[in-house]
């Protein structure tokens, strides 16, 4: 069970049960839907970016423990970071879950997100961990950058 404990660490289980920033943002500048058709995971990501800084970020959706906790921890992590930093962290996170060598500095920068290192032992689950991050990239790259309100 040790590999499983590596995968399903307490912080992951906690964020799965009680996802943070789990709501739609009334005011947002960016939005994207993420879908993993293999397992049916779906999430909607909302960002409020002001002057290149992620002022607020949230998500709603349903998925497995890995995808839900990854989205939850990502939103916590990115709040207050710049868009450019976020792209950099996407690369680092991707390297982390796919098992690529990561410098001490980059690993440290990822902070709590390092709990997802266990995913690299479970290739079928990499997509679960990275769904929210790919959705983030889609949201940031979307042409529609005008603020939307609902």
């Amino acid at each position: 069970m040790s590999e499983l404990r590596e995968l399903y660490q307490e912080v992951i289980l906690d964020h799965n049960k009680n996802p943070r920033n789990f709501m739609k943002l009334k005011v947002h500048s960016h939005h994207a839907n993420g879908h993993n058709p293999l397992c049916g995971d779906k999430l909607e990501l909302y960002l409020d970016v002001v002057d290149g800084v992620i002022k607020d970020i949230s998500f709603v959706g349903s998925g497995c423990a890995i995808s839900t906790s990854s989205a939850s921890l990502m939103t916590q992590f990115l709040k207050g970071k710049t868009v450019d930093e976020s792209r950099h962290y996407f690369e680092s996170f991707h390297d982390l879950v796919t098992g690529k060598a990561l410098s001490e500095e980059k690993l440290e920068q990822l902070g709590k997100l390092a709990v997802f290192a266990g995913v690299q032992e479970f290739p079928a689950r990499i997509k679960c961990a990275s769904l929210s991050w790919h959705t983030l990239m889609n949201a940031l790259d979307s042409k529609d950058e005008t603020a939307a309100t609902e």
Binding site: M1, Y8, C39, G40, G63, C64, I66, T68, C128
Partner: protein, 407 residues
């Protein structure tokens, strides 16, 4: 009660003796694909070691030998599903290709805008999309026999759905995600009263029950070799001769012609008209060996044992708190789909895998079924005659571990 000698059959399947993550393999993903007995592997090896050459038209010894084995395989399929003639058996890549062949060669030339193709809500995507593509090209529309809450089809609305515009009914005999066994005799009878032909998707049913296409009187029946202990990439399509004689070719190529000039081609007789190119010779022979293997055990003995497994697993799983079985029809094959309160099937699958248990998690290529139950996915335990009661106990223990870890 006759005792099914499960240990004897298990010894025919080398993979069942292997370990996964340090645990003895419990293979419960049989609805996706079945494991292969040594006999099937030996027959393929024997073909290549002793008899192999390209089939048909060759005058040399090996070509004739291979042709005899390949055509013998067609005879085996014919006997297994009780078709009237060997000409009614077309070798295809699998169920999916069989359905595509009927959509393209039989149905599409008949369709006019506004015509209807009647499917059911529990169909596998492979019995939806070929019809959808045909409908898009012709302006026909799909109509759907709805599901009841327990996973049965609501056949009370069938007479209404069988309108004068329906050109074909295509339904599965056994649901791959719910396990439901459909009353296809009744569906065929009602459709035929309106002179509507019926295609039966036998992908799941073929390994679990006796099939008699003449008694059923279905117009088309399709199945895959790999779901009945044979190789992948091979399957069979049964079609009544009267339909085959009027159908246009599916693919063009060698072996499906009598004579070719640049002005005109004369097509070969059935079934060869529908088998363009060098076919999957080893696949057909391997599949026939698998059918012989099943026939030796007898499908009746297999069905009886699997029903005992199903009843036991249903009882044991139902007792697990927070577990809900999706698909509780009174007549089922040995498939149990379930959800666990608060735990996503994908997490269930990963934890069970670490216990050596191979189950499938996801939508099982039946997204409309998942929509019906408002769930993204299920965990599916699908059992075969080589599974044991002890394995079911171990699967239940693995589910309990999932709950301990994730709960």
């Amino acid at each position: 009660m006759p005792v099914f000698d499960v240990n004897k059959v298990r010894s025919d399947f080398p993979i069942l003796g292997t370990h996964v993550h340090g645990k003895p393999l419990i293979y419960a993903d049989n609805a996706a694909s079945t494991q292969k007995p040594q006999q099937v592997m030996d027959s393929i090896s024997d073909l290549y070691s002793n008899h192999y050459a390209n089939i048909h038209r060759g005058v040399h010894y090996l070509s004739q030998k291979s042709t005899a084995l390949y055509e013998g395989a067609r005879e085996t399929v014919k006997n297994f599903i009780h078709a009237k003639k060997i000409e009614e058996i077309i070798f295809v890549r699998g169920t999916t290709e069989g359905i595509n062949l009927i959509a393209s060669s039989y149905l599409e030339p008949l369709l006019k805008a506004g015509d209807e193709i009647l499917l059911s809500e529990m169909e596998h995507h492979s019995n939806i999309i070929p019809w959808q593509l045909t409908a898009e090209r012709t302006g026909a529309i799909l109509t759907i026999i709805p599901l009841l809450e327990n996973g049965e089809l609501n056949l009370s609305v069938l007479p209404t759905l069988l309108s004068s515009r329906v050109r074909l009914v295509a339904v599965t005999q056994m649901s791959n995600s719910l396990g439901t066994l459909n009353d296809i005799s009744r569906i065929i009878e009602l459709a035929h009263q309106q002179s509507i032909p019926v295609l039966i998707d036998g992908a799941q049913s073929i390994a679990h029950m006796a099939i008699d296409v003449q008694k059923l009187d279905c117009d088309f029946f399709v199945f895959s070799g790999h779901k009945i202990y044979g190789p992948t990439g091979i399957g069979a399509l049964y079609a009544k001769e009267k339909h085959l004689l009027n159908m246009r070719p599916y693919q063009g190529g060698g072996d499906m012609i009598l004579s070719v000039s640049f002005e005109k081609t004369e097509y070969n007789d059935i079934p060869y008209k529908f088998e363009a190119g060098t076919p999957n010779i080893e696949g057909a022979i391997g599949m026939a060996t698998a059918l012989d293997y099943v026939s030796d055990l007898t499908i009746e003995a297999i069905a009886e044992y699997e029903q005992e497994l199903l009843a036991y697993a249903t009882k044991i799983f139902t007792a697990i708190e927070g577990l809900h079985i999706i698909g509780t029809a009174p007549h089922k094959g040995s498939i149990i789909s379930f959800v666990l309160d608060g735990i996503h099937p994908h997490d269930v699958g990963t934890v069970m895998d670490m216990e050596g248990v191979a189950v499938r998690t996801g939508h099982h290529c039946t997204q409309p079924v998942m929509e019906h139950y408002h769930i993204p996915a299920t965990t599916r335990v699908s059992l075969s005659f080589y599974n044991t009661f002890e394995e079911i106990d171990d699967i239940a223990k693995a589910i309990t571990k999932v709950k301990e870890l994730m709960g």
